[in-house]
Amino acid sequence: MTATPTPTPAGTPESDKPDEPAPDEIARTADSADTARKIDERLVQRSLLSRLLGRPELGAVVGAIAVFVFFSFAADSFLRASSLSTVLYASSTLGIMAVPVALLMIGGEFDLSTGVMVTTSSLVSSMFSYQMTANVWVGIGVSLLVTLGIGFFNGYMLVRTRLPSFIITLGTFLMLTGLNLGLTKLISGTVSTKGIADMEGFESARALFASEFTVGSAQIQVTVVWWLALVAVATWLLLRTRAGNWIFAVGGGQHTARAVGVPVARTKIGLYLGVALGAWISGQHLLFNYDVVQSGEGVGNELIYIAAAVIGGCLLTGGYGSAVGAAVGALIFGMTSKGIVYAQWEPDWFKFFLGAMLLVATLLNAWIRKRAEANR
């Protein structure tokens, strides 16, 4: 509240507008602010506004609103219920991975294998069910174990070798890309899996991973529910549990964290398991939405997940960020990539527009955060 009343030239009738504070009122406000500053700063009851300003996701939320308003004007069909549900679907398929990836980044590590891990997860599920002629739920279970195993491998290699996670997961990324293709061809004979839509359990699994339901006039995909549930769980974990404190601590500085008794190895492995869980959910969605899985899919998505987390306020250096922010980052990405289509811009320039919009959203985010921190 630093706004000064506009100086009005004396003698004009506007000078006695009722909504302008009288000079002595301003003095009183300034007085009370002074007394507040004299109390120990840790005990100050911060107002709701200033608490909101201190949240890592604030910049992303403002960015998301800006993108939303922009496309509401730039694209006629953007505001329809059906269009918004398409945007939500696109955002949710990213967001399911962006949330655990954000947690991992708060914990100070990267995972480059996430994109292809999603594909691995769906391939394992599909091929196990098909080859064993098993109920698809058996495949889903096996896939969960295998995917968690890959996550554990990443985490365990990291804490044992102490190599940068960038290198370890780059290795996993390349190995999984090769395995996806090699094993699929070895087992199915072609580069895509065989259809499993006629197998037992497919319908119930589809209901869980790839169905849709109606809200008002909009068809909402079940992935949106998975996305929101993951955000809720991750937020609770980060802000309300001891594990959440550990995650922030290992991301802030693992030696200090270890010195004060944080189980660094367990926390990091746990974070990689979280990412694997996200990959499993996304992978099952791929399988039960499209029935057939292409083994070459997923390459390049890992960077989009990381981008969503960073747009959402996670620092690349770790120790700072939020799950809600990552979800909003995914929403910005979804709105931008679909908004460009709704706006019917020249398709050849799509990637350029996408990149430019994301850069602007992120800059806005960083600028707002800086302002918020300065005002604290």
């Binding site: 098993a134 004979g189 006629d198 292409q294």
Partner: protein
């Protein structure tokens, strides 16, 4: 009673009584019997394919079947980066193979190394795209599809089906042959055709982008995808967007054939990749055995063949085994 018991037992064991490998029929592949007894020769194929492409898989199975019949040792390698593809050709020359099958998607990068093959006396057959460069690099023959001609065939088929506004979905931005397909279709199509770039390695993105496009323009009455895997995804997007558009596609796979049968798709354009692999190997064998030359200096076209619901009964089992 017995049925109930069996199914209960199956359920307990976590088995599926429908679908899966258990319901597969034994298929008869080509080349099961004895082939010719000409001296063993080695033929290398070097393509510009990326990782895990269904199309090249079918080309390979054609080549392998021909190789088995013709007593040929068949070596396949591929790289989607032009410079590395040229290196692969070079290493085949170093191995002194008896014949080379090369794709010309990036002709400029291949000219130099194919000159070396000619100097080494290795006969070359070019396949797939790049027909106009085949004689320039001294190829014995070119076996493939002309993308522009295939595109035009699609445009005419769309006219025949009385379509007014079409959408061409490009799943790999900047790929020359994909652009040529769209351009060809646009040329012969009487209606209006727009394009959409999607990220082919991210299926949910393909779906939501096509969905968004159809929602933003409800006049679109046909969607043309340029690769088989994207047809099913586009059909899904069409349903979600509540559009009445017909989905048509380039290339075949088991899912597309099934979709043609169920009338999810209007038609598919097949360029018969199996034929490209098979004929290339066989033509090189004929050249060495009988000094034959195919095509009379003109490209031998393996497509386009328009496939509709009527052709499905014949094709179904072939796509299932991965040769169509």
């Amino acid at each position: 009673m017995a049925v109930a018991l069996t199914s209960a037992a199956l359920l307990a064991a976590g088995c599926s009584s429908s679908g899966g490998k258990g319901s597969e029929e034994k298929s008869d592949g080509a080349g099961g019997g004895k082939g010719v007894n000409t001296p063993r020769m080695t033929i290398a194929m070097v393509s510009h394919s990326g990782e895990g492409d269904t199309f090249w898989d079918i080309v390979q199975s054609g080549a392998k079947d021909a190789a088995r019949k013709d007593n040929v040792q068949f070596d396949y390698s591929h790289d989607d980066e032009a410079g590395r593809q040229a290196q692969l050709v070079q290493s085949a020359i170093d191995k002194k193979v008896d014949g080379l099958v090369v794709t010309l998607a990036k002709p400029d990068a291949m000219k130099g190394v194919l000159k070396k093959a000619k100097k080494a006396g290795i006969p070359v057959i070019t396949i797939n795209s790049g027909a106009e460069f085949a004689s320039e690099v001294g190829a014995l023959a070119h076996i493939g599809q002309d993308e522009a001609i295939a595109g035009e065939a699609v445009g005419e088929e769309l006219n025949k089906r009385d379509r007014k506004k079409a959408l061409c979905v490009i799943h790999e931005q900047g790929n020359v042959s994909l652009e040529e397909r769209c351009a060809g279709a646009k040329k012969s199509f009487d209606g209006e055709m727009s394009t959409l770039n999607v990220d082919g390695t991210n299926m949910p993105d393909v779906q939501s982008s096509v969905e968004a496009k159809l929602q933003s323009d409800s006049d679109i009455d046909s969607v043309l995808t340029l690769g088989a895997p994207f047809a099913a995804t586009s059909a899904k997007a069409k349903d979600k967007a509540g559009s009445k558009a017909e989905v048509d596609t380039f290339d075949l796979n088991a899912q597309v054939v099934k979709g043609l049968k169920e009338k999810t798709f209007g038609f598919a354009v097949d360029q018969q990749p199996y034929l490209q692999g098979y004929e290339a190997i066989d033509a090189l064998w004929l050249h060495s055995y009988n000094a034959n030359e195919l095509g009379g200096g003109k490209p031998v076209l393996t497509g386009p063949q328009i496939v509709t619901e009527k052709d499905v009964p014949r094709l179904e089992k072939y796509t299932e085994r991965g040769t169509r």
